[in-house]
Symmetry: C2
Subunit: 319 residues, 2 copies
Amino acid sequence: MKEFDFIKQITPSFYKQSSVVKGIGDDGAVIKPPNGHELVVVADAMVEGVHFSLDYMSFHDVGHRVLAANVSDLCAMGSTPLYYIVTISVPTQYTKEDISQLYNGMQGLAKSFNMDLIGGDTTSSDQLMISITAFGSVLSNQKRLRSQAELGDLVFVTGYLGESGYGLHLLEKKEPDSYFINRHKRPVPRYHFIQASSRIDRLSLNDISDGISTELNEIAEASSVDITINYSQLPVHTDMATLQEDWLRELVLSAGEDFELVGTCSKEAWVQLEDACHQFNIPITSIGQVRMQAGERPTVKLREEERDIVLDREGYEHS
Amino acid sequence: MKEFDFIKQITPSFYKQSSVVKGIGDDGAVIKPPNGHELVVVADAMVEGVHFSLDYMSFHDVGHRVLAANVSDLCAMGSTPLYYIVTISVPTQYTKEDISQLYNGMQGLAKSFNMDLIGGDTTSSDQLMISITAFGSVLSNQKRLRSQAELGDLVFVTGYLGESGYGLHLLEKKEPDSYFINRHKRPVPRYHFIQASSRIDRLSLNDISDGISTELNEIAEASSVDITINYSQLPVHTDMATLQEDWLRELVLSAGEDFELVGTCSKEAWVQLEDACHQFNIPITSIGQVRMQAGERPTVKLREEERDIVLDREGYEHS
């Protein structure tokens, strides 16, 4: 694959974002972010054999998925996606057509959010690896930080939990394509949540990349609060409700990669948020409460049949 | 290596750049670039076995080198370095100490430019790979683009050519440390050139990462001009002048990775630039001229003993 020809091929003929002063084609891109806005920058990399397998995912799927992970981070910061940069390391056995498909996967998703590819780097390697840096804009008072949870907040989550993990299991078993498989291969970040929640003053927010246990622990730690969630309230797709109980539990608490959003807001804001999400057709569920930090460290607890167990970052449970 | 602990370790206790609103520790970083400035974004990745070997470079060297490549791109755009983001894929056989050394290498260089590490991602892999996105700020009218060469310009280059390539050769031969080896292991980007050239209205500029033949072809193509350089004027370190002639020629024209700057400016500006570079102790040499595009495509020519030969992007010569 000749790098020079390839760059020419992926260089867009025009940029959708007017804040792109200079796109691909020099030592770097030049941007002038919208006045009065702050710029959010996220980075997420995926490696073949670690984050995906080409045995059951196409190059197009992989491209889609790695950009989706980045856009999900932008959404979790409350920012509107703008641009992305791709560095990619490609083993020699992959063809130009393979890598074109991978970029097509990214561009397909980018298009629906008006995002521009503004730069990158292509190198060779023994293992396919894609690293993306993505940019979003946010008004200063609409940043959604992990540190913004407050005592008395409700905890909420969008969508249904464990779907991507279940989809991966079906993929590995070589089941035919289905809703759950698609949730793993082509997750769609909760882009419209940014608009739905734009009138809420304060939200703490995380996207579910590593499992809800990790994400809630991050919010608890950053906000110095305890969080209690109720197992019976965790949203599960009806077609997954019949799965073996321990497995379902693991999928729901720890599987991650659903790219749903989890966060907290005041009880007053919750009424407004639930209504707005309904209008945008975003499933949203209240799953718990933010409490005062009781012990030495912020803690996440899972309440089940009136018993509390501690959930650590990895989703392991301690009595 | 536990990712969570490691991120804690590399998170700075404060940020030198006041435009960092939120650094490491959420789904993304938040920045508010200086008013009136544009933001330059560059990306450069290095892969073990492709761009470096740990047989002859330390983890510290590798960290230094990959950030230097990015800062060099920022300088080639005329921008002042601000922040950087690192995604790194690490094979399990490398220890936390190894990777700390790699980050130390980056941080050592970053410190001299007041750059902040503001985010990143860490994954596992079979092959060490480091991808950096770096940010700089520039006033709108001080961007240094490849497309800004004009008829009648002089062509200039900073420093001496082929030093990094020669250093790599010495390293591979396991020679003891020397000036040239250090030029390969720890190149220092031409940061002060930005200040030295700040009063010049217009410059075309590229950094020499792929060899001067590639870089000059990029300027010629972006500016739709021909460029002629004179072989006898190309700056070569006196200790390299005795190398076998064909080898020296290849090092000077094609080896690259010197991270020197090559560009063009008007004859009037050249007097000013030469003087300013002298004050900043930056060696700078005039090596040729920008001419009208004579043929169908922009062309770079090497003039030697009153004979012109065409230099393509790879540095191959055609009569």
